[in-house]
Amino acid sequence: MHGRLKVRTTAEQQEIKAKERAKKLAVYKVAMDRIFSKRKSGELDDEILKITGQVLTENPDISTLWNIRKETIVKIKNTFPDLVDNYVSKELTLTEQCIRVNPKSYNSWFHRSWVLDKGSNIDFQAEFLLCDKCLELDERNFHCWDYRRIIVQMSKTPLENELQFSTNKITKNFSNYSSWHYRSELLPRIYPSSSGDTLLDDQKLAEECNLIQNAIFTDPNDQSAWFYQRWLLFTKKESDSKENSKNSGFLSVLNDELESCQQLRDLEPNNKWVILQVCELLRRIDSLGNKKEILQLVSQLTKVDPLRRGYYAYLGSKIEEEKQKKTIPE
């Protein structure tokens, strides 16, 4: 039971509600009995689809009822293959209804992706539209994002289109962690770097740095872009992770980032995200040379963000330990 506020009601309201619920419950019990008895006698037919559909529209989480529908679809596919598209389209309608009732219903989303596989002419455009609508209502619905990734694969949609989709989402609202996440998956596949220092090619890296700057200057308290920036700047390609190479180009990227973070710090001197990022940049640029400044910043972090003082203490002790190494493996 998530987010259901406990409300005070009068005795009269309670009685009305109890009567409504008793009625609903009676209908539910009759339906479930009928479904299970039909299933036992092998009657996987239009009637069982109708009754399971009615119950699921009220409660889309009863996975066994979705299984019964799957058994029925499989049976139809085997006995009347010509009819299956018609049934698939009914499943799409039902799952859409159920997703409206509960947009976070694992079962409804899974059933939809399962049934896509059974039809012969799926309209992927319509599937993308459904995702668009759903993400309009809740841009962080991870079920919908996952479903989108499934239809991208099935429809062989170019990843560049998805990157554009992610850009559109982010420019509409920088605080969309789901969309930043999506970029982290897409970019290294579309624009891999040729050197070991970074994940992306130089031009794309510069563009991304720019996008992050826009985000963090718009709302320096929004953590999405900060997490993304840390990943983008401080992750090396796995095969090169042991190398300590640091080309001058990448060092200048780090210095540019440091400069703009310092600017932001002038505007927001107590913002923990920017202080932490300055720390991390100084560490990567010259851990030993900047040690004193870094430790001062760490101590400031403890004051502005006391909830995480344990983490900052750990960070401080790591920095104290750093001796001869100039670069820090992540």
């Binding site: 998530h2 299970f36 409660n59 991870f142 344990g310 983490y311 750990y314 992540e330």
Partner: protein, 333 residues
Amino acid sequence: MALLMNDIVLPKDDDIPDLLLSKHAHFLASYGNNKDDYEFCMTEYLRMNGIYWSLTAMDLMGKLGEMDRDGIILFIKQCQHENGGIGASIDHDPHLLYTLSAVQILCLYDALDAIDCEKVTKYVVNLQNSDGSFCGDQWGEVDTRFSMCAVACLALLGKLDAINIDDAVNFVISCMNFDGGFGCRPGSESHAGQVYCCVGMLSITGHLHLIKADSLGWWLCERQLPSGGLNGRPEKLPDVCYSWWVVASLRIIGRLNWLDKDQLRKFIMACQDVETGGFSDRPNDMPDPFHTLFGLAGLSLLGEPSLKTINPVFCMPQSIISHLKVQPQTLTI
């Protein structure tokens, strides 16, 4: 925009109740006494989970004896299917989610011999795919939650070697994200519940060295909001259940002190329902057995002396896990 942060305001310290153990026990023991209760009937599809939540919570409070042991064991027997899997309730289909709950319940009762455990092992083994992932049941849904269910179930049965562990681990690692967290499948966004499943899975199989513990630990401790409560993803509201998913994960990777335990404790205590007993997701919402277990389990992880010590991987009393001689891995800094 900091003002728009998704969080709640806690009541004043004096208005936060003490730990109401006897009320919580009453709430759980009487849950489902009325078999015609609407909520009770409508949650039949997850009954096996519900029994596990209630029994584990009761056991943490030392009140397991108040529950109907024989009735519950008989019920579980009736829920085991020919293929070895266990369903949420009678007539409901078998699934890893309910199979694990059933095995956990039987471990609490030291009654694994009530079901055919060899068949359970076979059921779990047959759900592993060639890429190492696990389906939840015969219909093919893949999710890292099911990887955790599979290895937890087998570890409790002492049959962990029945599956291909390397493949199973590789699949979980392929779900690791840019922030060090884990999602449902490769490419899925990090979510504290999935993080717990993946960290737990790697703990049971002894592969925690594959985790980027510092990145993940930072992401996890950033789930704590000014109210002290924890959310499951950035920019989301706090919820008592994350007092389990986040805190257990941090505990397993040895970084529990990266968040403020006192403030978290206040948040959990404020989620108690002082009238009926039980915990809700946030203060003043409706309580339920799910949040009651994870509220109590979170308090136990924080060292609450009036509760039994909980095992952070299996979410069962440590005494049970020790008795079974199961030793999941944990990290230290």
